[in-house]
């Protein structure tokens, strides 16, 4: 058993006696009660459980909770609030980028990382960035549109 100290969405959590085999996805949901992170396939195919670890998007089902010790985490709960959505979330709403919502937390966290790391000049770039996230409702069109729009707003802000 190991102790895990982790900062999630700016808040520090110290959890003792964490079983080494506990996946980080389960740690977030079951130990910290942060159920915004969804668990889909549990083998790194669907991308629903994606969170930011020290600023990088990571599949939380492909990481052990003990490996998060000392890390800075952002989950979907850390992006915005229902009253005040962040830019990407508001564009998902604007463009109807979700239906059932199961994949959405992963889409948002991946989108945040893409927006920071890549120019996303074309829709092909956006689709390539989203290639690790599965959605069975939308057909992806509106998710791509939402990210395209957020990317444009990001560019406007800079210039």
């Amino acid at each position: 058993m190991t102790n895990v100290s982790v900062t999630v969405n700016g808040e520090r959590y110290d959890v003792s006696d964490v079983e080494p085999r506990m996946l980080f996805s389960d740690f977030l949901r079951d130990q910290l009660g942060l159920t915004g992170t969804h668990v889909g396939c549990e083998h790194g195919v669907c991308g629903a459980c994606t969170v930011l670890v020290n600023g990088d998007s990571v599949r939380s089902c492909l990481m052990l909770a003990v490996q998060a010790n000392g890390a800075e985490i952002v989950t979907v709960e850390g992006l915005g609030t229902p009253e005040e959505l962040n830019v990407l979330q508001s564009q998902f709403r604007e463009h109807h980028g979700l239906q059932c919502g199961y994949c959405t937390p992963g889409m948002l966290m991946t989108g945040e990382d893409m927006l920071r790391k890549y120019p996303l000049a074309t829709d092909e770039d956006i689709r390539e960035g989203l290639s690790g996230n599965l959605c069975r409702c939308t057909g992806y069109q509106n998710i791509v549109a939402a990210i395209r729009s957020a990317a444009a707003m990001r560019t406007e802000k800079k210039s």
């Binding site: 190991t2 079983e19 080494p20 085999r21 996946l23 389960d26 549990e42 083998h43 790194g44 991308g47 994606t50 670890v53 990088d56 998007s57 990571v58 599949r59 089902c61 492909l62 990481m63 052990l64 003990v66 490996q67 991946t110 990382d113 893409m114 790391k117 689709r127 390539e128 960035g129 290639s131 690790g132 996230n133």
Partner: protein, 289 residues
């Protein structure tokens, strides 16, 4: 699913990691990026008694120029290779291939040492290590040794590592070439390749002086096609070269049928990719047929 129980150790030196492996009596597994190991653990396809986490060992993540080579530490993440200006300028074929390595979140975590140790026959870095004649440094209980990439891969998901060995560095000699190409087809962008080829050519006084060809997804290991390299160098360059080249490449492989594609389909893909790759490589030399 969830992993079966295991003990977890997080050593801070290579020596301590090797000691932990020795103490595990063959029941230990190394954890680097975990992007192949965690799915295997979650499915309980592997049930190690001890997981030895390498991420606490400092000094294993670097990309540096050393003489005529680029030395890469085993814990270097795919993301770092993808965005490295040094890799882009000195190992352009690797740089181009990196965006095909899985998906963004996996590139953020996965490591080059882990990819080589896992030895998937359709993964980019094992193939690139053969393409570049990389030398793989391995540390074990007896000390350090270096193995050529071509000797390293034995079979699908099988390499010559002993249970107590750790890949610590991979050295890629910089290749002098005038044109190159990397082509890949996968079912979904970032998935494992159904077929892929890397080609580079060096121009001589007449025709080509040197060529490199590596392929993957079409055998139990990535392949370096040395015979095809010689045949390409000997070939007269004209409009028909890409087509003849694709026939040569395909004549060197005999992929099996599997769940993802038939052997015939993989051959068909590789033929098309070979044509395209040689066209691109020759165009860059200014000798486009």
């Amino acid at each position: 699913m969830k992993p079966a129980k295991f003990d977890y150790v997080s050593p801070t030196t290579l020596e301590a990691a090797i000691e932990a492996l020795v103490a595990s009596n063959g029941e230990g597994k190394l954890l680097a990026g975990g992007q192949s190991l965690l799915p295997l653990l979650n499915f309980r396809m592997t049930r190690p008694a001890v997981l030895v986490d390498l991420n606490g060992i400092k000094g294993l993540s670097y990309i540096e120029e050393r003489g005529g080579s680029i030395a890469i530490g085993a814990l270097t993440r795919h993301r770092d290779l993808e965005h490295s200006p040094l890799v882009a300028s000195k190992l352009p074929v690797m740089s181009a291939a990196m965006r095909h390595v899985a998906h963004l979140a996996i590139r953020n975590r996965g490591t080059i040492g882990g990819s080589l140790s896992h030895a998937d026959p359709a993964a980019e870095l094992p193939m690139l290590s053969m393409f570049y004649d990389a030398r793989i440094s391995i540390q074990g209980p007896e000390g350090r040794r270096t193995i050529a990439a071509e000797e390293f891969f034995v079979d699908a998901l099988t390499n010559c590592l002993e249970p107590e060995d750790i890949v610590v560095e991979i050295e890629f000699p910089v290749l002098v070439h005038h044109g190159w190409a990397f082509e890949e087809v996968a079912r979904r962008f970032g998935d494992f390749a159904l077929a892929s080829i890397a080609v580079s050519v060096r121009r001589g006084a007449t025709g080509l002086e040197d060529a490199r060809i590596a392929v993957m997804g079409v055998a139990d290991t990535p392949l370096r096609l040395r015979e095809a390299e010689e045949e390409l160098v000997a070939m007269a360059l004209d409009d028909e070269s890409p087509k003849r080249f694709s026939e040569i490449v395909v004549s060197k492989i005999s992929p099996n049928d599997d769940l993802h594609a038939s052997g015939e389909y993989r051959k068909h893909l590789l033929a098309q990719l070979s044509k395209r790759a040689l066209q691109t490589a020759l165009a860059a030399t200014g000798r486009m047929a």
